[in-house]
Amino acid sequence: MPSVAMTVNGKAASGEVETRTLLVHFLRENLRLTGTHVGCDTSQCGACVVHVNGKAVKSCTMLAVQAEGAQVTTIEGLAKDGTLHPVQAAFKEHHGLQCGFCTPGMIMTAVDMIRRIPNLDEKTIRSELEGNLCRCTGYQNIVKAIDAASKEMKGAHA
């Protein structure tokens, strides 16, 4: 079995995997980082989104061995020193989650979206969420949360 090493949430992580092992399974099974979820088998739900080298990636579409040497951030690594990331805080404030299953992927997607697109509006947020499914919320409060976080983060940088 090949071994793989990467940096996950700022810490060195390594393990033995099968070549067919997906990054999401390496994170969940080997590292027990179960915040990243699996919601489908066709790379369409986005429950598994993590950041690899600063970009949002569906970790079910990537082999663990492809992440060799990469910097990976999962939902568990988003809050810093016990302080929630503004996107996490906004999801709570605007009731952007119900069962919470899609939430880690939604938040990781949102963080990436806000980083990439300076002026988000409702239409852009909705189209950017194309790769993330939520069955509970009807998306309205997710959109609201992302919009609020984006405005807040812009304010903080201005």
């Binding site: 915040g35 489908c40 119900q98």
Partner: protein
Amino acid sequence: MTAPVIGASIRRKEDHRFITGQGRYTDDINRHGQTHAYFVRSPHAHAKLRGVDTSAARAAKGVVGVLTGADLAADKLGGLICGWMITSKDGTPMKAGAHPALAVDTVRYVGDHIAIVIAETYGQAKDAAELVKVEYEELPPVVDPAKAQSDATQVHAEAPRNTIYQWEIGNKPETEAAFAKAAQIVKLDLTNNRLIPNAMEPRACVGEYDDATSGYTLYVTSQNPHVARLVMSAFIGIAPEHKLRVVAPDVGGGFGSKIFIYAEEVVCTWASKKVRRPVKWTAERSESFLSDAHGRDHVTHAELALDADAKMLGLRVKTIANLGAYMSTFSSSVPTYLYGTLLSGQYDLSAIYAEVDAVYTNTAPVDAYRGAGRPEATYVIERIVEEAARQLKLDPVAFRRKNFVRKFPHQTPVIMNYDAGDYDASLDAALKLADYAGFPARKAAAKAQGKLRGLGFSTYIEACGLAPSAAVGSLGAGVGLWESAEVRVTPTGGVEVFTGAHSHGQGHETTFAQVVAGRLGIPMENVEIIHGDTNSVQFGMGTYGSRAAVGLTAVSRALDKIEAKAKKIAAHVLEASAADIVFENGEFKVAGTDRKLAFHEVALNAYVAHKFPTSEIEPGLKESVFHDPTNFTFPAGTHICEVEIDPDTGVTTIVSFTAVDDFGNVINPMIVEGQVQGGIAQGIGQALLEHGVYDKDSGQLITGSYMDYTMPRADDLPSYKLGFTVTPCPSNPLGMKGCGEAGAIASPAAVMNAVTDALGVKEFNMPATPSRVWAAIHRTRAAAE
């Protein structure tokens, strides 16, 4: 005292763990020595099993065990059950075929379970499953519910003509008489499309046998762990209830699909003793599509009789309900008592007669999905009412108002007794919010742009709580539908609430805590809500049918008892008479004096037990209640949908969606709005996007992945305009009604009334996908030429 807690949009207590990745869902649980399971499933819709050879799979790398239906039968385990007995109109009981957890001699739908392969890793189990050699003798499947009763294929020998029951409700002679004297009769054919629930968390379980205690533990994605334990114990016979612990940890959405007791959890629990290791299974999404219980799937003909003054005289309905290849846990009740009883809608109708034939087909079992029967009923009544207004050339609002129920209580001809409501109030508020008056101008403006605008109403009513136990028992339910609550006060004044309700997105950890904190005048942080584990909670019926109000009433009644006992203790400590003790803002006071005790001081006294006679008052502070509701609760309201259709592409855009709901008193408006938004999204999904389709000839599921089954995405949906009106529910002390399903119940009819308005057609089946809308536009144009 600070602002009231009950009725405030308090942010959710449970959110922290979910937004930081610390939720604990079933697939996150890993037990020591755990193995992994994969199920061998039928690739055929209908076949005889001529042989199942597991020898090669058993010899494969990492395999711990392979078990089949023969092994289950050898252990004399019972099959899966349907817990609601329906009696046909001829007095005979429903005709159900056996439902073994692993098929014995026949497979009846694509995805039917044949064997479990258990291995050290999931990959090994899946690889070895390919080595199980199954010899099939293929049989022709029957797929279409409308043809099931005349098809040569018999799904179960026990049910001739594939007919499980032929049920009726209402008053037939009165209805015939109403039609005989009608000035006008409006007729409509409708289908209610098959939906696949698709909670984002796939079903999963871990079964574990402990030799030391000879007990089992099952971790499972369930909305009702106690019901799962009862069924697995009393009917399937895995272990007595006291030797079976069922834990439903965080559950990632249910919408009904996680009520039912499924083959996989039964087999994994049983297998854990066979292999003496914990056995874990998690569905791949493809398996969810194949084997989760689906929803809806009705074919209906409806007729409405009207007098010359547009007053509704009578309604008759004939429905064929597809229950799939086996009867799932509550499937029989959905197209009957959850459907026929709501056919009166918000209208004063004295004559209703409905007949429902439930049929077997070679498709996945069909059972309750968000709304369960009530969306189907609302779709029938609200589509035919809108159609009647069009045929009579009446404003749909005026026509509805002419027929609204306005006196309460109101007894319908179909069992339900509406206790309170004000249908004009929610209609008025919705008309304003939707700017109904401005619609003709908007329609004209759209027309000038070459677009088709339409507007549709749905003035719905539904019934929640599911409900007085004796009442449901007399209707065939195998269970009572009360709920339990136990409130334990700790010696330092913390409060633990053990509830039989289960939260899988509804936010009970917050709303239940609000009720406790508001009532006892203590901080929310001092309240812990415990649910989902049969080892903690004595018994409970779980969460479905928007029945958390039943659980909350149980909590509220347990708090009554806590307060009564605490008053007695406070009286002794304060050396006053119990009658003089008042409880306000978390303090027990002697009326008219400044002598008082804080809640936590009384709690401590209750446990120390130094200052009251323990011969009269037991030490400790803990009370429990089993609350049986006295009626359903009846949320009602108005949804208005406005669509614009592009005739060149057939794309339907929802330009505005308005919902005004009457949920009685609301505990947490933020959470209620979230429930409505999610429900509407599922209803719009049904109306415009979603459709579970089986190939008519092969019985293959054509919509078996997110490539083919169109889930609503963020850019398919608008933001909704929501409003609330309040008529408190008279049957519970908090005056609340259920709110979890109304969105999904009301919205499909509103959307389809808008689509048919825009297209100017009478009948149009859901989902209104672009290709079907485009085809309809071109059919109409061709006919006009």
